[in-house]
């Protein structure tokens, strides 16, 4: 199998991406969405959901499984590394293919290849398999780079988020070892939540405002999620929240509350990357990849600061925009990550979307950010509106550019889009377009 090295676009000075407009997303697919796997339904396991997404992506492109010669799988168990360690390792397994954890709380490339064959869609011509891709943010860029570099012609990339029964991440015991020796004694939880609470407070101190100023954004995220037929909230809590609900939400790590946090779900998505040339003959309107960029900046000290976040997101956007040969004015649809509401403004301001500069996000949120309005911010609804899919922002970008986003379709021009995941100091982003130049 071919391997891939040095694929990241993670530093200034790289200029225009060498494969700008020469790679496209020809198909995408996603599974149903459940709050959790119920432990019984074998057609709704994480693996089953992922196979559904992969089959849909291939069909969406109008390709056949034997045309797929590249497969990219994220190795994170269920998308969340804590799933196996904290939940259910002692549970009984089932008949094959569920006789191990593989397919239940994570999916390996081998499991997916075997299951695709069992389900009548065998991937018989794979020559490039990457089961060491990082989380979806960088994974999208890596898949695009793989096609551009000629490692495979048609790369099927898939990502899932799993959620099985039980509470996870409990940190028991009286000792804290490894990296936890520097944080757990003071009650620090292993989560991005507390880090971003600190940075958010610094933001409010520097620019003014408070958590209350996030209410219009969080309320609108829920609204956009409710415009998505398969979202968690459409299925299970089909009512709009009001600003008062947000302001009164139960605090977890104040200023972060339960409504600032995404709700874990079980879901999978897949994307089919191919050459621009091949995409033009595919079933759907191509969505061209114009650029990708990644950031991975370890904290200098115990916690990153607002300045760190602003510096690295400025760099991220410069790499991404330079790679696509665009400026902020060229970005139409924008789905920044919202895994916690308190850091999304860092991306908004770094991208300068609709002219929003540093310290201006709260005023922007007070305006008309609905999908019908002039500033349809985060039209996907993100994780906050759909549940923690981590892929809704990607599928929305594709749907907006194709003009098939339904009730979420923005009314402004939708010829370019950008989205990414995860937090400001560790993320990957991608820039998409309806035209290759």
């Amino acid at each position: 199998m071919t391997t891939q090295a040095g694929w990241q676009r993670d530093r200034d000075g790289l200029g225009v991406w060498e494969h700008r407009g020469k790679v496209a997303i020809a198909g995408y697919g996603y599974s149903p969405l459940d709050r959790r796997w119920d432990g019984v339904s074998m057609d709704r396991t994480l693996g089953a959901f992922q196979v559904i997404a992969m089959q849909k992506a291939i069909a969406d492109a109008g390709m056949t499984p034997d045309e797929i010669d590249g497969l990219m799988v994220c190795p994170e168990p269920a998308g969340d590394t804590w799933a196996q360690a904290d939940r259910g390792l002692n549970r009984p397994f089932f008949a094959a293919p569920y006789d191990t954890e593989d397919g239940l709380s994570y999916t390996s490339a081998k499991w997916l290849i075997d299951e695709m064959a069992r389900q009548g869609t065998p991937l018989t011509n794979l020559k490039y398999i990457d089961d060491k891709a990082p989380y979806i943010g960088p994974e999208m860029g890596k898949a695009a780079q793989a096609v551009g570099d000629g490692l495979a012609k048609n790369v099927l990339m898939t990502y899932n988020m799993g959620n099985v029964e039980g509470r996870y991440h409990l940190e028991e015991g009286i000792y804290s070892a490894g990296g936890r020796q520097w944080s757990a004694p003071w009650g620090w939880m292993t989560s991005a939540m507390m880090q971003h609470a600190f940075v958010f407070l610094q933001y409010c101190t520097k620019y003014g405002g408070s958590r209350d100023d996030l209410a219009p954004f969080v309320v609108n995220q829920r609204r956009n999620g409710l415009l998505t037929p398969w979202s968690f909230y459409t299925q299970h809590e089909p009512y709009q929240i009001a600003a008062e609900d947000y302001l009164d939400a139960r605090p977890v790590a104040w200023p972060v509350t339960i409504l600032d946090s995404d709700r874990p779900v079980q879901h999978a998505a897949a994307f089919l990357f191919t050459s621009a040339e091949r995409a033009r003959d595919a079933k759907q309107k191509p969505v061209y990849v114009m650029s990708h960029a990644q950031i991975n900046k370890p904290n200098r000290s115990t916690m990153a600061t607002l300045q760190d976040h602003e510096d690295v997101t400025d760099l991220l956007v410069k790499i991404l925009y330079d790679g696509a040969g665009v400026t902020a004015n060229d970005l139409d649809v924008f789905n920044p990550y919202d895994g916690f509401s308190v850091f999304t403004q860092t991306y908004l301001e770094a991208f300068k979307w609709h002219g929003v500069g540093r310290g201006e996000a709260f005023d922007f949120y007070k305006g008309d950010i609905r999908v019908e309005g002039p500033h349809p911010f985060n039209s996907s609804g993100g994780n906050l509106g759909n549940g923690r899919t981590r892929t809704a922002m990607y599928t929305d970008c594709i749907e907006q550019l194709r003009g098939i986003a339904g009730a979420r379709q923005v009314q402004v021009k939708a010829e370019t889009a950008a989205c990414g995941m995860v937090t400001p100091t560790g993320n990957g982003h991608i820039f998409l377009s309806t035209v290759p130049s």
Partner: protein, 139 residues
Amino acid sequence: MSKTIPQPDEVSKPFWDAVDQKKLTLQYCSACDRLQYPVRPTCYDCGKSDTLTWREVAGKGHVLETMVVHDTRVVRRKVDVPFNVALISLDEAPYINFLSNLPGTPAHQGPQGAAVELFFEELEGSGGRFIHEWRVVGQ
């Protein structure tokens, strides 16, 4: 407060030994002229290990921000909620920051920007182990 007890490793043992002697000593890179915390095997900036030594610091700082934990997965701390978690910047090297529960300051009353001073708190059930903590000056 029922804080968890840090478990030193080979690299961090000198740091925690010093804390037990009520001294705050940080790694110092002679090549970069930079202090470093948390403890790492190599310098954050130059990546070298043979340039790292230990340097005691004065223990004066300021509160950058304070958040409040209301619900925690750190089981030993569940009995303490709600409690402050402050981010403290070190005056002599503001790029260094520490966590603190601001003992003596009620939850939600962490004063942003206030001066703090270092002290050492004996950990419950630890057999005489200490941890570095910070309190608002004048409290």
